[in-house]
């Protein structure tokens, strides 16, 4: 074999080191002021980004600049500041649309978080009256499909909807390996199904769920599809046109943005057909005492003064992530996940919930330590500066599926390092020593 064919042969298999988009983690960390903090004399090891991410200086500066120089209400003031604030707010909408491949900025509805985005869609169903688009009519005999892997925010709104309308709630199960069980897809999603709403990446198991086959089946039977992408949009490139879904929800604070700002993306034609949820200022066309008509989307779904600075901050977060590159973020986390899974599976008595291979999963790893409660694990880790999430992670049914009331969860982001995973492993050693 000549060296030429060997070189060519190398490129036919796994991507090589040089093929993978990369960034300088130390440089990224320098953007996040909080990462220099110490906890009890230990450097902060922040492994709770699935809960909320830290914020880079670039976002904090935009927030301060907005309040210091451009603050005014949007869409109703004729003065200069009002115009600047409106431009900044609508500019953020356009940035976010580009970030997820939406065809127009009008498909981006600002909410306060993912929960509100999912509630918004759930409340749009079940309105009586012939004037309501049949896709949003729901009653006895109709079915809503979710999964056992959902965050409470993608369970409870649908339970409430089904209680209100008499529709039936059904769900996908989870396999022992922590994957979505789609073996009964054709039976579960059927002609009675009106909407399928499920999580793109699990906040407990880290599992990245399939989209193509589920969307194909749902659309075949005339059902809509909504994705909870709260744990996906921050960590990997997401393109709503590629996904071919109908709605997608995510939140700003998990992707380097401020709290209090979330996003509902919906296909323009669907948002147009969707009845309003919250009533108030800015969402109307005209108001008379006898009744009102409503503004076109997205304004129809943004009653009252919106989170203006927060939207602008999320726009800055999107600029920041784009400057690093979402492909690079995904690869960075994939490598961290492989490293962490290797290290954690070596620990005696440690059980991982979810896929144990770094394929089809993100950088969120939940585990149990034999006989030691997660609260105790989290407390001892905190004493060494390691911040993890403990509890049911707002996904109690997922925990129940694996027979535990709570888990310990470590989650990574673009600023996480392998040294921090080493600190986690050392901390787990301390936990085992104390409770042995």
């Amino acid at each position: 074999m000549t060296s030429d064919t060997r070189a060519a042969g190398r490129h036919t298999g796994m991507p090589q080191y040089a093929d993978v988009p990369r960034f300088d983690v130390a440089k990224v960390r320098a953007d996040f002021p909080i990462l220099t903090r110490e906890i009890d004399g230990h450097p902060l090891v922040y492994l709770d980004s699935a809960n909320t991410s830290q914020k880079p200086r670039q976002v904090l500066e935009v927030l301060a600049d907005h309040y210091e120089h451009h603050n005014a209400n949007v869409a109703r003031a004729v003065h200069t500041l009002g115009t600047e604030a409106t431009e900044a707010y609508e500019g953020a909408r356009a940035k976010i649309a580009r970030f997820i491949g939406a065809s127009t900025a009008g498909e981006i509805v600002f909410t306060k978080n993912s929960s509100e985005a999912m509630n918004l869609v759930a409340y749009s169903f079940g309105h009586a009256g012939a004037e309501v688009d049949p896709r949003f009519r729901l009653g006895p005999g109709d079915e809503v499909v979710i999964s056992e892997m959902e965050h409470h925010s993608n369970i409870v709104p649908w339970q409430l909807l089904c209680q209100r309308t008499g529709a039936t709630l059904r769900w996908f199960g989870i396999t022992d390996n922590g994957r979505l069980d789609t073996s009964n897809l054709d039976e579960l999603v059927n002609e009675k199904t009106k909407i399928v709403s499920y999580v793109l990446q699990s906040n407990i198991l880290g599992t990245i769920n399939p989209v193509g086959e589920i969307v194909r089946r749902a659309h075949e039977v005339g059902a809509l599809v909504m994705l909870d992408a709260s744990q996906a949009v921050p960590h990997s490139p997401v393109d709503v046109v590629d996904l071919d879904v109908d709605f997608l929800a995510f939140t700003g604070h998990k992707m380097c943005g401020p709290t209090g700002i979330g996003v509902l993306w919906g296909r323009a034609e669907l948002l147009d057909a969707m009845p309003p949820f919250l009533g108030g200022g800015e969402m109307i066309e005209t108001v008379k005492m006898e009744g009102s008509t409503f503004a076109p989307p997205p304004a129809r779904f943004e009653a009252g003064t919106p989170p203006i600075a927060q939207a602008v901050g999320l726009g800055a977060a999107v600029d920041y992530l784009t400057s690093i590159g979402m492909d690079a973020v995904r690869w960075h986390e994939k490598e961290l996940t492989a490293y962490a899974l290797d290290a954690l599976t070596e620990i005696p008595g440690l059980r991982i919930f979810g896929p144990e291979v770094p394929v089809g999963r993100g950088g969120t790893i939940s585990f149990a330590l034999d006989g030691i409660h997660p609260h105790d694990v989290g407390q001892v880790l905190d004493a060494e500066g390691v911040a993890v999430r403990v509890g049911h992670g707002c996904a109690r049914p997922t925990c129940a599926r694996f027979g535990v009331p709570a888990v310990t969860r470590a989650s990574f982001y673009l600023y996480t390092t392998t040294e921090e995973i080493d600190a986690l492993v050392r901390g787990i050693g301390s936990v085992r020593k104390l409770f042995s």
């Binding site: 409660h373 997660p374 609260h375 105790d376 407390q379 001892v380 403990v390 049911h392 709570a406 104390l434």
Partner: protein
């Protein structure tokens, strides 16, 4: 903050070797007065910890006595150890004494580490003084004690109803 102040030896001992664990039926051997039995199930929604506490109350009014406190549940070392201490401290006391203990323990736990515990009254429970400095863990320590208070109130209502 020092982890030792939270995970005192006494707490870890009670956690690893709990006293009086498991829900018990009243002892109905000959000559024993039939106690009033009531239980309460409390949940800590932030972590999913659960605790059922059952109280046997013998006698009425001033003479009411907590003849047994039994419990079952799952949770962290703090919540499990505090249930074990609750059993030790409260079983056999008059209801008045038991509720005074509850009050003292509650005051200690919600005192943000500023309350000097009465060691004579609280015995092993003084080990939880350090927990009061960890706001996220105060609920763990109080879980069984709050369930006890509820169960005792229900048992008392039953004695009142029985008269």
């Amino acid at each position: 903050m020092q982890l030792d102040s939270l995970y005192q030896e006494i707490i870890l001992d009670h956690y690893k070797h709990p006293h009086g664990r498991g829900l018990r039926e009243p002892d109905t051997a000959a000559g024993q007065a039939e106690p009033h039995v009531a239980e309460a199930h409390h949940v800590n929604p932030t972590c999913g910890d659960e605790m059922t506490v059952r109280v046997h109350l013998t006698g009425d009014g001033d003479k009411a006595r907590v003849s047994d406190v039994s419990y079952d549940g799952m949770g962290c070392s703090i919540s499990q150890a505090s249930a074990s201490v609750l059993h030790d401290l409260v079983s056999g006391r008059t209801l008045d004494e038991a509720l005074r203990l509850h009050e003292a323990f509650n005051e200690l736990m919600t005192g943000r580490g500023q309350v000097e515990p009465d060691e004579e009254l609280l015995e092993d429970a003084v080990a939880f003084a350090g927990v009061a400095r960890y706001p996220a863990r105060v609920k763990c320590a109080l879980l069984s004690w709050m369930a006890f208070k509820d169960a005792a109130a229900r048992a008392t209502a039953e004695t009142a109803g029985g008269n």
